[in-house]
Symmetry: C2
Subunit: 217 residues, 2 copies
């Protein structure tokens, strides 16, 4: 899934990601009372080029004016219409360890669009308790709860060894998007969105670059 159709135009997935970033920058601008913005101003906030911004906006069919640039309020609305899901999306966290809890807090209350409605953990001491008023279920109940609560997106923070097995269970239960934060790569069917972020790899890359830079000097 590298492209998506909007208004019968093909839009790269990367553009979708940037739209989300643009919107955040724009929201901050409205707080400051700004009503219009130029492409190079958006570019300066996020770090992309002005051409990139214009091209992205072109793809979603949003027009600016030569004198004033883009109307911020309208642009936010157009982006929101593309990105947002009216009723919001229900999310569950699988694995309520440190990382799972951190992600929970990170999202809690921030985005009304994205609601964490359940957590799962295999630790019997956690099962049945509430964390920030959200119930923690046994993994045995994944299928039941995912259906009952209409959970669409799963945040995967279980131990790496259990990642594959849990991912399979999630797909079977009808989950439509998985954010995999374990270090085990997982496979999902084409119609399930998958994002994998592996911190260990990132750190090793960073360390490698530090090393390269030192050798150069």
């Amino acid at each position: 899934m590298a492209k998506v159709k909007i208004h019968s135009k093909e839009i790269p997935v990367k553009t979708i990601g940037r739209l989300s970033q643009y919107r955040r920058a724009l929201l901050i601008c409205t707080l400051k009372g700004k009503t219009h913005i130029f492409s190079h101003e958006i570019a300066a906030i996020q770090h992309v080029t002005a051409v990139q911004v214009r091209r992205d906006l072109m793809l979603i069919g949003f027009n600016g004016s030569l004198k004033q640039g883009y109307n911020i309020r309208n642009l936010i609305d157009v982006i929101s219409e593309i990105l947002d899901y009216e009723e919001g999306v229900n999310v569950a966290i699988f694995g309520l360890g440190n990382f799972g809890r951190a992600l929970f807090n990170y999202f809690y209350g921030k985005r009304s669009q994205l609601r964490i409605v359940a957590t799962f953990d295999s630790n019997t001491e956690k099962i049945g308790t509430e964390y920030n008023k959200v119930y923690c279920y046994s993994p045995y109940r994944v299928e039941e709860i995912v259906k009952k609560k209409n959970i669409k997106i799963a945040i995967l923070t279980v131990p790496p060894k259990r990642a594959l097995e849990v991912a399979k269970k999630l797909v079977d239960a009808g989950i439509k998007g998985i954010l995999n934060y374990t270090s085990t790569p997982i496979d999902v069917p084409d119609d399930v969105f998958l994002d994998e972020y592996d911190m260990i790899t990132t750190m090793e890359k960073a360390a490698f670059f530090v090393k390269m830079n030192e050798l150069k000097l």
Copy 2:
């Protein structure tokens, strides 16, 4: 910085990331007593293609045999020689909130190569305390401590509003790699490694895909 030179060959940054993943898969294989592995087997563990694996290994000049594939032990050694930094790399966490602590625990004791040697937080209740035996410093002491402890990599988990200011401070203090987990994009000079992972954007992308998929049905 899209490419890197190793043995006078240009290697894409993405290959570096994959090498780190390959190594992890290979380490698991050695635990199981395997001594040799085919490109398609490595490909199956991580999710890349066999051609990709062979091409990556070609780039680092590692050869396999037609009968047995690649010697696992040797391959691990070659990858380690490329990625690792003998003396290890010192890392500090900036912002000891939930997320910062989660990352701390995630790394603690796992990678001897990557050592978390300091944390920083502006909360006066945290300053001066130890978290897992690592001291928490005031942000005012960034420059001093970064130099004294030879800290090369910074994990940035401060509140989004403070990201830019802290990042600037880090660069000035001589940090050589920043992993930015705040939702504010930052800019760094060319010689500083930067990885940005924005969870909110990822979640919004996931939600968008869920929506797209539902509309299709």
